[in-house]
Amino acid sequence: MSTDSATKQVPVSEGVFTWPSDEPRLLGSKCTDCANVMFPTQSGCPKCSGQSTETIELGRTGTLWTWTVQGYPPKAPPYAGNADPKTFEAFGVGYVELPGEVKVETRLTVNDPAQIKIGMEMELTLVPLYTNDEGEEVVTFAFAPIN
């Protein structure tokens, strides 16, 4: 991720990814009974109905399982990014399969269908979402192709 030292960055929400961190990781849950992995963190396991989970840091890299491109501005709210039809920029969305863990839904740093292929290798990064009332840059997570 690029860091502008003049602008303070804050996460879109606490507890979604490790922060602050030079190499952030998504935070998930692992069932202490059946080892099922979930994202984001949650109590209760949808696989075995177990009631005990522990927070884990998920892998940073994986393969793209499927994808689309958000071609029109999402309704705001709930969307907090740029929803102005005049300046809206399409963004990719997909599921990245983290080996041995889970598939996570995520924004992609690429939006050109010609650049995106099922099965491509990807890694976690952060992208700017909007500037809040305090002038801070709010960031959320995304996956970027590994070149």
Partner: protein, 383 residues
Amino acid sequence: MTTDDVAIVGIGMHPFGRHEGVSGMDMGVAAVRTACADAGVQWDDIQFAFGGSASAGSPDTMVSKLGLTGLQFINVINGCATGGSALFSAYNSIKSGMFDIGMAVGFDKHDRGAFRVNTRASGLSDWYGESGMALTTQFFGMKINRYMHEYGITDDSLARVSEKAFRNGSKNEMAWRRKPLSMDEVKESAMLSYPLTQYMFCSPGEGGVALILARGDQAHKYTDTPIFLKAAVVRSRRFGSFEVMAPHIALEHNAGPTVDASAAAFEMAGMGPEDMDLAQLQDTESGAEIMHMAENGFCEHGEQEHMLAMGHTEIDGKFPVNTDGGCLANGEPIGASGLRQVYENVLQLRGDAGERQVPNDPKTAYTHVYGAPGISGVTILAK
């Protein structure tokens, strides 16, 4: 008890589309009045009602216009399966022996554009919507993209489904979008959620449908053409399925609620996919109709490409699908959408579908709804 326990004896519909100055509730009231007239009953003959609406008010308040008769009226909210759930509840209320005649009604009136998702009400955190992922359209784009990759479905099939929908809609006076569109027009419309374009998606809309159900052994009191409800099933998702609004999916795969609901409905009816003469399948977008053909058991995965090219799912084809234009031509007022499918099947089985009547006197018909948060409803009708 036999599977002829419950019959649909009256149907009513308010046209789908956009109706300035008409509330969703009033569309529901209009549908109820039409259904009562169709069954030849008065409102005070109706012993119970299940009503569904996602965005247009509490259905039970419609009694202030229909008449305060004291009937049991229960509101149903169950995502995109709201109409199917109202019908399932009405079915069981008669099948249990508790009542002789009652009603399932659904109506809605949504804002223009894609559904605005309330992330918290969906059990999701605010960051999910703030980050731009709380859009049902993304799910449909991602599901069909993966499906095309796995099973060799092409853009031509996506466009063919829309072309068929608008052609069928042009023959349906109740439909919203009645102008036929060519495959090229469908493909060249705005790309909303790759690989799906504007005319491959249905839109949230407005409308109302009411169905009157009665004990099968009393059905002939109301109609010469009772249509029997052989099965009504609603299923939620199981671990490992790929559903709308899911921040994660498990690595292991499960086929999903449509496959489960379909299998349970066929078992309940004592029939199989080969026994069905036509079907209305959830077509939130054109890819959904394609995937749901296989998930409901009407073909193998990947066979749809050939079936569509050969016209098998046209009104005069081997297995007509979405004869009224489906969600694509009718729009999706959530509370009414599943009931709209059943309304169409009743018309088809009665032989009253006019210009879009399926030929050769169909005897059986199937409906399927799917929606957030991973729920499917199926009915099987027979005469």
